[in-house]
Symmetry: D2
Subunit: 296 residues, 4 copies
């Protein structure tokens, strides 16, 4: 039976690890702080005391940590993943990090003798629980096929996007689109409200047209209700737009609308909404225009 190590038991990682367990894999978990591990320990799932020991026991090691620095640390620290690697182990890097960080991590893993698959995911906590994250996978065919059952326990669909780094690029693609769409919706709603339109009417119109999508349906309700609890926080959206713009510059694509979107999320951070949901990008604009987009 395949043993899967899972490092990073945050809001996303926790349900992903449970899905691996539910799918019948032999799971071993590790988190930098102990709180995340507790429910797993109580349920009888193995808990490793270091990334190295987790890696020693695993065929596949999934990383789902906060950023590129955390990936580097988990790989390179004393008792880190690199210390425990052998040629039978595949590291599946699922965190959202920069393209260069992905390539660097792949090189570290290869140098240490292991295999590497780039597999960030698109989706929030709901799809993480339901196993319907979109898996955005980069790596050579053989390595990807070898870990496909593991990925399919967490993701549906699993999209093989190309070589190492292409999962990361696809993640930037989709979150670039997300940030633009979210802020477009915010601009449109404040525009409509300042013109005296009802929020409910605006939602009805969007839901009956070519732009009907889960994002606008969900965020329309959330904004109307004043519910800004983070599914995907402003700070992360800002980070992803920054990564996308840096990458766009590297490959020669000027993105003036995306640049405007990024500054809108920067305004939300400046106003103190960095920890709130991306829907809170509407707030600085509400403040400037002195209107509120709430259900009457």
């Amino acid at each position: 039976m395949t043993t899967v190590g899972f490092i990073g038991l945050g809001a996303m990682g926790t349900p992903m690890a449970w899905n691996l367990d539910d799918a019948g894999f032999d799971v071993v978990v590790y988190n930098r702080t102990t709180d995340g591990e507790q429910p797993f320990a109580e349920a009888g799932v193995s808990v490793a005391d270091s990334p190295k020991h987790l890696t020693r026991r695993s065929d596949v090691v999934c990383l789902m940590v906060s950023d590129g620095d955390a990936v580097g640390e988990v790989l390179e620290r004393d008792l880190g993943v690199l210390d425990g690697l052998d040629e039978a182990t595949t590291v599946v890097q699922m965190s959202t990090i920069a393209y260069e960080e992905t390539v660097a991590a792949a090189e570290l893993v290869a140098a240490a003798g292991g295999r590497f698959v780039d597999a960030p995911v698109s989706g929030t906590v709901g799809p993480a629980r339901e196993g319907t994250l979109v898996g955005l996978v980069g790596g050579d065919e053989a390595a990807v096929e070898a870990v496909r059952p593991v990925l399919e326990a967490m993701c549906d669909p699993v999209v093989h996007c190309g070589d190492v780094g292409q999962g990361t690029n696809m993640k930037l693609f989709v979150n670039l689109l997300l940030g633009n769409a979210m802020n477009a919706f915010a601009e449109a709603l404040v525009f409509g409200r300042a013109n005296g339109l009802d929020v409910a009417d605006m939602r009805t119109v969007v839901e009956n047209g070519g732009l009907h999508c889960p994002l606008f349906a969900g965020k329309g309700v959330a904004i109307a209700d004043g519910d800004f609890e983070a599914r995907f926080p402003v700070d992360y959206q800002y980070k992803d737009l920054s990564l996308a713009l840096a990458r766009a510059g590297d490959v020669g694509v000027p993105l003036s609308q995306t640049a405007a979107a990024r500054e809108a999320f920067s305004a939300a951070r400046a106003r103190g909404y960095g920890d709130e949901d991306i829907a809170a990008v509407v707030k600085p604009l509400e403040e400037v225009a002195d209107v509120r987009v709430r259900e009457d």
Copy 2:
């Protein structure tokens, strides 16, 4: 039986007028050029020789012409709508025009003794044929209810957005969102392509996430196929974003992302794509980045 006059037999107006005929209304049509009228005449539908004569015979007069100048001309010209109005007639203005033009048209109609309903529609030729345009209606309750059966022959749903002008404001709201979304998709696709992602993979990822919507599904195929035949042309999207930004300025809402979107459509016009579909907003960016977003 209610007699409905329909002025403006273009790509949108023609199927809308047929839907009125199919719904059993006594229809009379008028077009500034004769080509549009021919199929109606052949099918036995009444054709008026002037807006005045059409109005004389109608309980409800629908206007579906190209812009605010055309609305003004049809109302005020010799043998125009105003000449034929009486207090039993309701003018239903369905063209996309500016807020101030809507208010001005309403005042002209009221001064001439008629009733006025503001009813631009959201949707392209497909929904126009199927009678599933979203009707965005502004006017007083009694006037709107009186023409509701007429609107329902062409639209589903019919959304009553407020007083005269609010239909127009809702149209600007939805087309502002549309322009932002279309250009966001264009920026994302060129970004992805410049990074070596497959168009088919990008479409799969979007269609399995929170941004899955008819717009991205349809324009994704169109761009991949290199099909830029206009459903909704760049020139019209540019006009609507311009109207929305002018209105936003009037009501105190700065829209920096929408402003960036407008300039992207301006670039498409500058490059000669004004008559092509809004999907052609991708082309200037393809040219700058020297990549093509086409199916491999």
Copy 3:
């Protein structure tokens, strides 16, 4: 001796008219409200009781009113300029209006038998007093040369930019640049202040480099002192950027940075600073970033 009629005795028009008087022209003035005329009447300058009567007495009629609607009204109203024109009269239109409005005014004047020169000015109240406005002149060679002495009483230099409308286009060119530069300075100052830099140091650095110009020198002092009394108000800058963007769209030039600048001035208007000096464009950004750019 040449008789010069001057219509529009606001903050700019008043010193311009005095300069004509000082230069020895026979001057006759008219203002829509009587306050502006009083000092001229007291000094023995002729005051006309209508644009028509002013025009009847004048060889050259200068217009310096608030906007294109005011130009139209002064020309076309009862007892307007057109009523008083003959072929020996030249109308010199100096207000900042749209290109189309300039062309329309020229056609009205030509139809009424007069000659027309387009001559908006660049500069604020100080240069208006000193006669050092930059005159931006459009019209045929003969007409421009005929009124050059009149223009030189108010302007130095007088720049002949081309045919009718080119003065207006040059005015949009320079005010487009002005709006961008002012908002760039605002963004830079708030950036610096949020990083803990002294305002005085920032001003010193700018004044010793390639960007040293009267605008930054003057606005740097004004902002540091919290002096936002209007030399050139936010509302007018917003209007000029809007005119420039509309014109840019018409001639096929996408201007993404100028579009961002316009929305910054829109934010200043939304926050209630429309009547303040363009330097007040710094205020909404100070509010978002929660810093103040003031001398310590």
Copy 4:
């Protein structure tokens, strides 16, 4: 006599080092490649064979290299600056690098026992030759005063902007303003040209108004002449705007106009003009609008 080591003999560093020599300092130079050192060796200036040996002999070590990576390399490599430091040595870091890189370099130097002053410069090759660069200095009072004579050999004025890092922040401030101003000028010129205005007339108007500055005077001539030889290349301006936007995000200042400017320079890079002067930012816009801003 004070011995000054100078590392980095590029287009800027070479004249700066000569100015130190002219001012009577005992100068020793080092460059990573030997071409830069040759003229110094021929003139009898000392050339060190490593940063370590240069540092051993110097009281003050100036760094003027290409970017943050180069600074790190020169400090930390085998036979690097850190190897040669003692408590009597002050490292004066003059390259344009990120704020975080400045702080990191300061910490490395302090840990190795030396003193650190942050001193990027504003100005191009001309002022570098004339000794009139603007010195933007960060560091504690005593350290800055100690190296002031060295800085004054290269810079006039020398502006002490605060603690370590504030020189870098001031550099970002001024280059942020520069990038906005340059692209504003480009947008304005293309706008004017598309409207049929003469380049010479546009230059005359700018040079007689509130925006008259060395930048517009110089770049106006360069663009009119089609001279895009790099004084300050597009790639560097793009890098500086990227650094400024990243820093702005960190300190909570959304900069939507600067973001638009950055994408304009990104377009210039995408089109292959990265090595040309910042004036080449006009070229992609000329291409889209299909006009050329050249003297007739």
